[in-house]
């Protein structure tokens, strides 16, 4: 009877809080996206439900629940039903390795609680594996819909993700070479000083990872799998009600995870420079909450960047997309990896 339940309970609480925060983030992002696009296009956007239209996501959610869940007669049923679940689960799984704060200490609890769900050895790899599995959701949705437009969307998604996963990997590796560790917590701790942020040491890697992040999340200008003007709705043409909503949420969660990865690897993650910590006299749990605040703020900036790009740039053609991936991003990524390796060997004094 010496099974210790406390770690289990702590893990369950952490997972619930993070999942809650992710879904909360998704609903806020839908509002930000619609209001943001309205600002850019000189429209008003949703402004009727609640102050500034803030309750619009709730209304949208209710609408999704009450819509009829249509199962078209010509689909391959098991995979049609499974596809949105795969997309959503993989998107949520990827966030598990992202550290969002230092650690909390409580009097009634012996050990410090690290603010990350899974601080594992190959953390970054795990994230990439989970994100890579997510494409099955889109591919299967396209195939099982038994509809040529959906099928094309699914195939586009697959080839796009395969192409950009290489660039994504190179963007990640250039940081791993610098840090000498795959533990995201350690990578964050190395960037405590503002000037030690990896974006200053590996600017090309940051660029490559950012563009690849846009492509992996199927966001405009890389949203060819669901290009409305060409493919009706792409892979989710046949989906309705909550099944469609699950794809929608998966896309936004993938966006949050990809921003979180960029912030963690290149922009110092949750860390606050020691001088600032001293200035405000932050200690213990207060420091942990401040770190969480910093992390969320950085994340919010990036998410806004995603929205900003979406409503500013037109969609690429498919051949352009492939050219950017294979002929620009991958060579740039290799260049950065070599530069990072040289940096580690030479260890210049000024850093």
């Amino acid at each position: 009877m010496d099974f210790d339940f406390m770690p289990l309970i702590v893990a369950v609480v952490k997972v619930s809080v993070v999942v809650g925060a992710l879904f909360g983030g998704v609903s806020i992002m839908t509002w930000v996206e619609r209001r943001g696009s309205a600002i850019m296009q000189l429209r008003r956007g949703p402004n009727r439900v609640g102050p500034f239209g803030l309750f619009q996501p709730i209304a949208d959610g209710l609408k999704f629940f009450f819509k009829e869940d249509i199962l078209p007669p010509f689909v391959h049923k098991p995979t049609f039903i499974m596809a949105p679940a795969i997309a959503l689960v993989c998107a949520m799984l990827a966030f598990a390795v992202i550290p969002f704060g230092g650690s909390l200490n409580f009097e009634f609890f012996d050990e410090a609680i690290p603010l990350v769900i899974a601080d594992v050895d190959g953390g970054v790899l795990l994230l990439m594996a989970a994100a890579g599995m997510g494409v099955y959701g889109i591919m299967l949705a396209g195939w099982s819909s038994n509809n040529k437009f959906s099928q094309l969307g699914g195939l586009r998604a697959a080839s796009q993700v395969i192409s950009y996963e290489l660039a994504l990997g190179l963007g990640v590796i250039s940081v791993l070479v610098l840090a000498g560790s795959m533990r995201l917590v350690e990578i964050v701790q190395m960037q405590e000083q503002f000037l030690h942020w990896n974006i200053f040491r590996a600017p090309l890697g940051f660029l490559v990872l950012m563009v690849a992040g846009f492509a992996e999340t199927n966001r405009l200008p890389f949203d060819l799998p669901e290009a409305e003007s060409e493919l009706v709705g792409g892979y989710h043409t046949e989906y309705s009600s909550m099944k469609f909503s699950m794809f929608f949420m998966a896309e936004y969660i993938a966006m949050i995870t990809s921003s979180a990865l960029l912030v963690t690897l290149y922009l110092g993650g949750y860390s606050i420079p020691p001088r600032v910590v001293e200035l405000f006299g932050l200690q213990g749990n207060l420091l942990a909450f401040a770190q969480m605040g910093v992390f969320v703020a950085k994340l919010a900036c990036f998410l806004w960047f995603f929205v900003w790009i979406r409503w500013s740039l037109p969609r690429f053609r498919f051949d352009q997309l492939m050219q950017i991936g294979w002929k620009s991003l991958i060579p740039l990524g290799f260049l950065q990896v070599i530069a990072s390796a040289l940096f580690v060997i030479l260890k210049p004094e000024w850093f």
Partner: protein, 176 residues
């Protein structure tokens, strides 16, 4: 909660997890062979590879487990399923392929089973516990780039050669 408390020691929990993963792996493997729809067969293979990754993780080889998911289940299988979807293969009719494949499958299966039985007989549990840091990324990296440097480089060269060969074949068809 009660079953967990009854189980007590962690080893028995591990045994149960092992049993579950093995069951999933076997069912998925059967699905690959027996299902008639090529896309579903591919999906069963993905499930099987995931279950094998779970086995690696249970053995303490976490790096292998993650790489298994990242490379095999995540990248190689995406390509294979991509091709299956592109060809839009129809579900195969049952029992249309004659006796020859069945005969070969039987012989190969027999060979595999006899090999497994031999391996199982000569198996002895390791005497020492696993060293600290076994299966970690750092340990894997140092053994790859220090202990097995030349084999590793030769394999990468072979892979590059294979890729170049594949491109050559594809190009020749296009131009000819």
């Amino acid at each position: 909660m009660i079953p967990l408390a009854l189980l007590g020691a962690m080893t028995s929990l591990q045994t149960i997890v092992l049993g579950l993963i093995a069951l999933v792996a076997i069912i998925a493997a059967l699905g690959v062979v027996l299902h008639r729809n090529p896309v579903v067969q591919g999906l069963f293979l993905v499930l099987n590879l995931l279950a094998i990754a779970g086995l690696y993780a249970l053995l303490g080889a976490y790096f292998f487990a993650v790489i298994q998911v990242l490379v095999y289940a995540g990248a190689v299988m995406v390509l294979i399923i991509f091709v299956i979807m592109l060809l839009n293969l129809q579900p195969a009719a049952r029992g249309g392929s004659g006796l020859t494949p069945v005969f070969f499958a039987f012989v190969l299966g027999l060979a595999l089973v006899s090999l497994l039985v031999r391996a199982g007989r000569s198996f002895a549990p390791p005497e020492a516990a696993l060293a600290e840091g076994f299966g970690s990324v750092a340990q894997m990296g140092s053994s790859l780039f220090m202990g097995y440097f030349y084999p590793f480089e030769v394999i990468s060269l072979a892979l590059v050669a294979a890729m170049a060969g594949a491109i050559l074949f594809a190009k020749r068809d296009l131009e000819g």
